[in-house]
């Protein structure tokens, strides 16, 4: 949000803030420090690996990641990138991760529907065969696809982190519908479920996802203490990488472009001063 604010101010458009919502309200996402912040920020590979593990063991039970292939995990900047394997399809880590998944396919000999172990070129399989099946298993709610989640939510990683760690006991006077959970960081309107002072409706909304994380629910291979905050932070970082896997390539390319343009502008300015030196204007 802050960076967006700066960007707009830079354009001289400070007037145009983020769109505000009518009756819906939500708590501002928590302030978290991320290694990938700023023009030079990079992802922490160990964090991406931990985040992947959280996704694999917790999120992927309900959330698809349709735009991602296993090979993406081993590409430059990814959680399992190994400079020894320039082609991520050859990366043994990626291969073994893919092999653990069963992929729907058609037997090319018989035409029968079969399941086969995944390869690094396969996409992450959807946990549900279709949308109605996903809704039926989740009380009518559809778990959003996670490929673009960090890009598709105002606040990005901080928003995801805040939702995951922001579950609260519903305040007195609020009737939480069955199968829903109160979360102040979820955009929503709870006024219809509030029995006390209508001018003091709590902010936030209801979410159909039960609190997904718990201490030690995921065991981190690098010995990092597995708190809810740690799991939430790591998976938020992972999902940010997933939503834009070319971030690091973009930033390092951008740095070179900025330096080039700065020097070029300087040269042009010097030429301009020189050419115009004898013209009174």
């Amino acid at each position: 949000m802050l960076r967006k604010g700066f960007a707009l101010a830079a354009l001289g458009l400070a007037f145009i803030g983020g769109p505000t919502l009518a009756a819906t309200s939500q708590e501002e996402p928590k302030a978290v420090h991320w290694s990938f912040e700023g023009p030079l920020g990079k992802f922490d590979q160990a964090q991406l690996q931990r985040g992947y593990k959280v996704y694999r063991e917790v999120c992927s039970a309900c959330h698809s990641m349709n735009l991602m292939s296993f090979r993406n995990l081993g590409q430059k900047g990814g959680p399992f990138y190994d400079p020894e394997f320039k082609n991520p399809n050859d990366n043994p880590f990626v291969k073994s991760i893919a092999k653990d998944y069963q992929i729907n396919d058609i037997d090319s000999e018989t035409g029968d529907v079969i399941k086969r172990p995944g390869t690094s070129a396969d996409r992450f399989p959807n946990p549900y065969p279709n949308e109605p099946a996903a809704r039926a298993s989740n009380g009518g709610a559809l778990p959003p696809d996670m490929s673009d989640l960090a890009k598709a939510r105002e606040g990005g990683a901080a928003y995801i982190y805040s939702i995951l760690t922001g579950y609260e006991e519903a305040p007195k006077g609020m009737t939480v519908p069955t199968g829903k959970y109160y979360n102040p960081y979820m955009p929503g309107d709870v006024s219809g479920f509030w029995s006390l002072d209508p001018n003091k409706v709590p902010i936030g909304g209801f979410i159909a996802m039960p609190p997904p994380l718990a201490p030690d629910k995921v065991t981190f291979d690098d010995g990092t203490k597995s708190t809810v905050e740690q799991q939430a932070k790591d998976v938020s970082a992972f999902l940010t990488w997933v939503s834009d896997p070319k971030t690091e390539e973009r930033k390092s390319f951008g740095l070179a472009v900025m330096i080039y343009l700065l020097i070029f502008s300087g040269l042009l300015y010097a030429s301009y001063r020189r050419i115009w030196a004898n013209v009174s204007h």
Binding site: R3, P19, G254, M258, L261, S265, I275, A277, H281
Partner: protein, 439 residues
């Protein structure tokens, strides 16, 4: 393109070609030798910047079209495929999406510059009108381009905007169905928008050619608004303005690159990364920032048809401007009263932009409830929009026509060179050392 040509073919081939197709002569006369007022400031570099923007949009757009799939089931994924799997696809796509914002930013500066220095007045009316045509084509092109990624805001934006045509009495609904190619925004709509989005930039390029032609007949206006009187007042376009425009373009590209590489999604709406779903309407449908002022005018009017008429009227004002402004003085430098109203106008357009991004019932000053007049809250975005809309139209229909007849302008300089020579502070570094070369 007009007047006397100083081009002399340098060799046998150029002479041979010049007698058959004087294309080198055309280039020399319009881009090298063209006499340009020597007092153009940096506000005048935005024409060159816009040419670069158009070029970037066309080149990146052609590459994107090689990978994009115009189908409701595949469009969203194909854009993501471009950013994830195509080599430097992220660069091409982010340049294109941020390029639209940069294009509009530059065109707004260019238009405000024209408004301030009176560049629409005789003999440049046609030049101004062609500019207005380009701007309209840009709006339509940008709107259609925004639909192509087929995200939530793409789809619902397309629904809202195409439905506006339905406000036309009797024939409106039939035209809307015809535009959609069906009874809702769907695959046929996406396909034709893609086709037209590819076509229109070349129409823009064509009108830009006419725009430059119409510029080169009367020649550039300048910050004093005084006509060029002698050769003393001008310098050849090359190298004087190629280098000045080049510097400005380079600085503009720095800002553009800061968005593309470090904040590529800052100017877009996060909701557009959710694939289009006709059954789920986003909480708040807003256009991109560059169309927000028109959106605010649309919503300021309680009646749908009248809202559409006002929104169209806001652009129509620009077309009528050369005949609405009655002042004979071009530059507002010499029109202190008009200058004041002009700056209010600039602020009002920014306020309209702010209002376009808010919900109509939002409060301007939070917590203040005392401005209730007959069941309507004056402390709300919709009332601020109405006030700003009223000023927008008054500026064109009342202020400019009346001011030209009643104000007393400051004395204008005799020529472009006169104010320059009388201000020693304006002399560039090095001029004092060689005063004989001045002028």
């Amino acid at each position: 393109m007009s007047g006397h040509s100083n081009y002399e073919p340098k060799n046998g081939f150029e002479k041979w070609l010049d007698e058959r197709l004087p294309i080198i002569r055309l280039g020399y006369d319009s881009l090298v030798d063209f006499p340009t007022p020597k007092n153009l400031n940096y506000w005048y570099t935005f024409g060159g910047i816009l040419a670069v923007c158009l070029g970037i949009q066309i080149v990146t757009g052609i590459i994107l079209a090689m990978h994009y799939v115009a189908h409701v089931d595949m469009a969203f994924a194909s854009v993501e495929h471009i950013m994830r799997d195509v080599n430097y696809g992220w660069l091409v796509r982010y340049m294109h999406s941020n390029g639209a914002s940069m294009f509009f930013l530059a065109v707004y500066v260019h238009m405000f510059r024209g408004l301030y220095y009176g560049s629409y007045k005789a003999p440049r009316e046609v030049l101004w009108l062609l500019g207005c045509v380009i701007y309209m084509l840009m709006i339509i092109t940008a709107f259609m381009g925004y639909v192509l990624p087929w995200g939530q805001m793409s789809f619902h934006g397309a629904v809202v905007i195409t439905n506006l045509i339905g406000a036309i009495p009797v024939i409106g609904p039939a035209i809307t169905t015809w535009l959609w190619g069906g009874f809702a925004v769907d695959d046929p709509t996406l396909n034709r928008f893609f086709s037209l989005h590819y076509l229109m930039p070349f129409m823009i390029a064509g009108v830009v050619g006419l725009h430059i032609w119409a510029l080169h007949v009367p020649g550039n206006n300048n910050p004093t608004g005084v006509n060029v009187k002698s050769k003393e007042d001008t310098v050849p376009f090359h190298p004087y303005y190629t280098v000045k425009d080049g510097f400005a373009i380079s600085v503009f590209l720095l800002m553009y690159a800061a968005f593309v590489f470090f904040n590529p999604n800052a100017l877009g709406d996060a909701v557009n990364y959710v694939p289009a779903n006709p059954l789920v309407t986003p909480a708040h449908i807003v256009p991109e920032w560059y169309l927000l002022p028109f959106y605010a005018i649309l919503r300021a009017v309680p009646d749908k048809l009248m809202g559409v008429i006002f929104m169209g009227g806001a652009i129509a004002m620009l077309f009528l401007l050369p005949w609405l402004d009655t002042s004979k003085v071009r530059s507002m430098r010499y029109r202190p009263t008009a200058k004041l109203y002009f700056f209010i106008f600039v602020i009002v357009t920014l306020i309209l932009g702010y209002c376009g991004g808010q919900l109509p019932d939002n409060k301007i000053i939070p917590g203040l409830t005392t401005f209730q007049v007959a069941a309507s809250d004056l402390n709300s975005v919709v009332w601020l929009s109405r006030l700003a809309t009223a000023y927008y139209f008054a500026y064109f229909l009342v202020i400019l026509p009346v001011l030209g007849l009643t104000e007393s302008p400051l004395p204008q300089p005799e020529s472009i060179s006169e104010p320059v020579l009388s201000h020693s502070a304006n002399a560039p570094i090095g001029a004092a050392a060689s005063p004989e070369k001045r002028g």
